[in-house]
């Protein structure tokens, strides 16, 4: 009773402005500022403490080391690199090697994953079961073990350089890697990539034009076959006119090993194989979930509108499945990129092995180097994430 009375009393009065320390808005703000201040203080304390401790123990700090001569060699470099170059150049070499293995891994894992995912849904019993067994096996074995399997189990068993497995006397496979001829463009070669570029631009233009025409008149245009013709035809014509100005540098057995040509080192092959085959199993499951996530009613509705199976898949099923597939697919791409740092276990000269390994050991500047390495992985991951989010937005349901 008393409480009711009190309530009535409060209601009767015009609502008084509460004191500032009881106002929930100010209260929330106060505590947020307090927590933020605390976190900033903690960070400042940690940084200051680290610097003070480093100075006290006489350990060098700062980023000047990046400009100093590295003095060591790296077995695989996409940009020119020698011992006279700086630590920063060594960093770039490692970074590019990481990016290379990640990009190739992502492309292969995506292709293989989509095939596997569709295969698991196949009506053919054998194909579906094979895909299931593959996915369940590889998905459940740790990646590091798979890496060791490919590197130590398979590629280590290849013969030495003098007993190389030769294919047409142009490709050679041995324990040091796969050696293939290297194309060396001669003057006039640029016509061929230029023709390819024109073909791609033409296809984009053609596709837009065809869609517009279909929207206006309902007539369809064989875009696929025309595109195929363009993309093969134009470079072919350019090749015929210029007389294929390309020379090949063949690998030859000289001294210890094959010299010249292109080399795929076994560390690279093992890493790409392990990363893509492992990640493909996860992508396969994502693809399967995506396709199963589109209800069968959609297919039936499309059929009842008179669409044939192929346009149904292309225009109805896949766009909806992609909406389910893309977000988890992003995580898999991120995983693959980060997992590429396992390279250090098998001597592939990636960012971790070259920069957070050799460079760290030689300069001893662990804090700076590990910091840079972490920042680089974070940046790569955020870039991939941003790109996939943009693509996801593009694919998302547009409500009109």
């Amino acid at each position: 009773m008393a409480a009711e009375k009190k309530e009535a009393l409060v209601l009767a009065k015009p609502p008084a402005k509460p004191p500032i320390w009881n106002d929930p808005r100010y209260r929330a703000l106060f505590f947020q500022v307090l927590v933020l201040g605390g976190i900033i203080l903690l960070c400042v304390f940690l940084v200051h403490n680290t610097l003070a401790n480093l100075a006290r123990q006489g350990i060098a700090s700062g980023f000047e080391f990046l400009g100093r001569t590295s003095g060591f060699s790296i077995s695989m470099h996409l940009i020119s690199y020698a011992e006279e170059n700086t630590y920063f150049r060594a960093f770039l070499v490692g970074l590019l090697n990481t990016l290379l293995v990640s990009v190739i891994g992502i492309v292969l894992a995506t292709i293989f994953g989509f095939i596997l995912g569709i295969a698991r849904l196949s009506k053919n019993w054998l194909i579906a079961k094979l895909a299931t067994v593959y996915i369940e096996t590889l998905r459940n074995i740790p990646l590091l073990l798979q890496l060791f399997f490919w590197y130590f189990g398979i590629l280590r068993q290849l013969p030495g350089p003098r007993n190389s497995i030769a294919l047409f006397d142009t490709f050679f496979l041995n324990i040091r890697g796969l050696f293939s001829p290297q194309p060396i463009p001669q003057p006039g070669f640029w016509w061929i990539p230029a023709a390819l570029g024109v073909a791609i631009a033409g296809i984009i233009f053609l596709a837009r034009w065809a869609r517009k025409r279909q929207e206006q008149t309902g007539e369809q245009f064989p875009v696929f076959w025309t595109s195929l013709g363009l993309i093969i035809g134009l470079p072919l014509i350019a090749t015929l006119i210029t007389g294929f100005p390309l020379k090949w540098n063949y690998p030859e057995l000289q001294g210890f090993n094959f010299q010249g040509g292109l080399v795929l080192i076994p560390e690279f092959v093992a890493l790409v194989l392990a990363l893509s085959l492992y990640t493909a199993t996860f992508i396969a499951e994502i693809v399967r979930a995506g396709i199963l996530g589109v209800s069968h009613g959609q297919t039936e509705a499309a059929y009842s509108l008179g669409l044939r199976p192929t346009p149904t898949l292309r225009l109805v099923i896949i766009p909806q499945a992609l909406r389910i597939i893309i977000p988890p697919l992003t995580s898999q791409y991120l995983n693959l990129t980060k997992n590429s740092s396992l390279a250090a276990a098998i001597a592939y000269p990636d960012l971790v092995l070259v920069f957070a390994g050799t460079v760290l050991m030689q300069t001893g500047q662990a804090v700076e180097i590990i910091g840079i390495t972490m920042a680089v992985y974070l940046t790569i991951s955020l870039l991939i994430s941003g790109l996939m989010n943009w693509y996801n937005k593009k694919m998302a349901l547009v409500e009109r």
Partner: protein, 339 residues
């Protein structure tokens, strides 16, 4: 408020953790915890390697045992942390180990920029190359274009680069983190050449499938003075580790060994008397017991005993004393006077 409390508590913990690292002298810490934490390799026969019973043996291990003998009078009071070449300095800097005795080369950068102090040289070494005999190579100058298996984070990696650069030759490094992986890669034929310190070549060769099918090339391309390492800024601990090695060298020079050390206690030689703590306060000056040298020699041995037991001609490594003989016998090992 809970969040605030968490924040305060975690800040306080962070403060104490960092303060702990900065703490008092290593010697006091070691005495308090009752053992020496010794950083060793992950298995290098003759230097630091577990035997079939799991006990650590080797020259580097014996240095740690000698330090423990000097402090506690008991050489067994050592705990070992196996470290890869890459991890070793961080482990020492962060206080995870008290002394790093892990076939580590003394260089200027390590002595300065890494905040470390080398206490002396336990083994004078130099870098060499090993190749399969069937390759037909007779000199390191013929190695142009070779791929070389090497351990990450070592001076080896750099010396090799210098050597190939100076001789205008090309090479392809294959860099592994663990010494065992390097040896396995070389044995499988991934590389033409395996390079490390010559003592290491002698030791790792024992792990190859067919040790006799390989040979060490005659060139020695670098100086590799290997020795124990401690942190900068703790002179008392630095002194103790340094003088432990000198004591072992002095013991050899003055004829003290694990068998005769009890008898030598009655020697009239003043140097021996000082060494064994019968005269003077040598141990006290170092912060340990005066009979520290007695304990070292009795339980671990003098330098030559340690050498012969672990890497000498009678061991599988078959390394002659060479540069590691006493200065009186034409070598480089020279113990500073204990007085």
């Amino acid at each position: 408020m809970n969040l605030l409390r968490t924040l305060v508590v975690s800040t306080a913990i962070a403060c104490f953790t960092f303060a702990g690292v900065a703490g008092a002298g290593t010697l006091d810490d070691v005495k308090r915890k009752g053992f020496v934490q010794c950083g060793v390799s992950q298995g290098l026969p003759g230097f630091s390697n577990p035997d079939e019973k799991g006990n650590w043996t080797g020259i580097d291990v014996d240095i740690c045992r000698a330090v423990a003998a000097a402090i506690f009078g008991d050489a067994s009071k050592v705990k070992y942390t196996p470290l890869s070449a890459k991890e070793r300095f961080t482990a020492l800097q962060s206080g995870e180990v008290d002394v790093l005795s892990r076939n580590t080369t003394w260089t200027l950068v390590r002595d300065t920029a890494l905040g470390l102090n080398f206490t002396g040289v336990t083994y004078y070494d130099g870098q060499g190359f090993m190749v399969p005999k069937k390759l037909g190579v007779k000199s390191a100058k013929e190695l142009n274009g070779a791929s070389v298996c090497v351990n990450i984070g070592t001076t080896t990696e750099l010396n090799m680069a210098d050597f190939f650069r100076a001789n205008k030759m090309e090479y392809k490094p294959v860099v592994f983190e663990k010494a065992d992986e390097v040896v396995a890669a070389y044995d499988a034929g991934r590389c033409d050449v395996y390079t490390t310190d010559r003592s290491g070549l002698a030791a790792q060769r024992l792990k190859l499938k067919n040790p006799d099918a390989h040979m060490v090339l005659p060139e020695i391309i670098s100086k590799e003075p290997l020795g124990p390492v401690v942190r900068h800024g703790d002179d008392q601990w630095f002194d103790l580790v340094k003088w432990t090695l000198y004591a072992m060298l002095e013991a050899e020079e003055y004829g003290l060994n694990s068998k005769n050390v009890d008898k030598m206690k009655s020697s009239s030689d003043p140097v021996v008397k000082r060494l064994l703590g019968i005269e003077g306060d040598m141990g006290k000056n170092l912060g340990v017991d005066n009979n520290w040298v007695y304990n070292i020699v009795k339980q671990v041995g003098n330098y030559s005993e340690v050498y012969d037991r672990n890497v000498g001609p009678a061991t599988p490594l078959k390394l002659e004393r060479g540069a590691n003989a006493l200065w009186k016998e034409g070598g480089l090992q020279y113990g500073m006077p204990v007085r």
